[in-house]
Symmetry: C2
Subunit: 271 residues, 2 copies
Amino acid sequence: MTGQDHLPVGVFDSGIGGLTVLRVIHRTLPGESTVYLGDTARVPYGTKSPEVVTRYALNNARFLVKRGIKLLVVACNTASAVALPALEEALDVPVVGVIRPGARKAARTTRSGVVGVIGTEGTIMSGSYERELLKIRPDSTVKKRPCPLFVPLAEEGWEDNPVSRAVALEYLGDFASGGMDTLILGCTHYPVLARPIQEAVGQNVTLVDSATAVAEVVAEELGRLDLSSSNGKAPAHEFFVTDVPQRFQTVGERFLGAPLFGIRQVDIDPH
Amino acid sequence: MTGQDHLPVGVFDSGIGGLTVLRVIHRTLPGESTVYLGDTARVPYGTKSPEVVTRYALNNARFLVKRGIKLLVVACNTASAVALPALEEALDVPVVGVIRPGARKAARTTRSGVVGVIGTEGTIMSGSYERELLKIRPDSTVKKRPCPLFVPLAEEGWEDNPVSRAVALEYLGDFASGGMDTLILGCTHYPVLARPIQEAVGQNVTLVDSATAVAEVVAEELGRLDLSSSNGKAPAHEFFVTDVPQRFQTVGERFLGAPLFGIRQVDIDPH
């Protein structure tokens, strides 16, 4: 891998949500360049089958690998949940998903051992958080629930209004029972709705967001593989989307917490 | 077109919503066979650009035309709003969208001339209902508003609960002012939420759903082109989806109002 350290870290997501992960990567690894791909023409992945999500994930990853990256972050819970083995097999770069880091953080956080997981239908159906948690902490009890409306709510920007509170209560009002003390936000959109989610589950439950854990794993991996950026140049950040950039820009700046420049549209459909 | 009358009517939608249109076609034209394609691998279209929606619409239409259809119904408001000219140019079969029939019905319904239109971002941004209404009734005033959360709410099955009422109030609580007496449900999912929508706009506003109007136009066109089914055989109904059928079946039966049998998955990505 010598001579690869100048390359950017590649990050893909089904759309905008992964920008909450990119935000923490930028903060944790300020010297690293990044290239982000949001598959906005085929978003969302959360209601789609493992087969279709895996096909789209491979398309996305190949686009980034062709451009040149030193490590790939799958910043989409659904794709991490169902497509990670296929990506690891198909690609020559190290791949970091969001599930294992998130599960590891939750295992460190919980005292009672009762952990909740919320996410899209695809992520929850896959049982992947449960599997990873039980590997690390076999005595834990995992409760899971899909919350499909949280994604469109977060994109609508209704972060803290009566509707978000009503939806959070409908999904989670009875969820944090049986000693649950930790809740994994198993979808990159959900941190945007942290306030209504926290209100619905109560203040005794700690919310775990994978983004910080992912950024730590990326830092560890780059160090371990001797791939950390060392040329001292100012990092560059590139953004690609598969549909027109307008909506990605408007909604995305809120998710990234910074202005978005030079978003480019690309066609990655297999022809 | 002689000898084509035994062919089915083709219907496509971005996913499940078009089943509310198919339901009325089945009721209005009980002798006609139909073939439905739901593009569930790429749903939703409502937040995507005209370019991408047009590409997907052409894919869908070509799949149905290859199977053999005598008329194509574009049962998706977003695709009807942006892709109808491209479809009409590319295909050799007559094409019926949902916008013009819906606008015609609204123009007949309104007394005040103040008409509201709600739909996805794509439909509303296109201004297509407005254009069609003003052609028929140039003195009308059109108010429009995107309601993106209605689609996931309808798919979640929350047709009549506190969340649907809160969302409808948030979008439409102040919408039906200025003498509005007619509201076009400009998305095939919205009839499922008719009750909370009606409550939010008040009982003086008549809701117009394109489905009935579309079925009437399909009957007219088949008659005009001498394409009505005349072989006296029992009609057959086929269903295709681009992702695994499970979710389409569960949610779709509610939309169609009938059991769904033999749904088949197809890959229509351009290779």
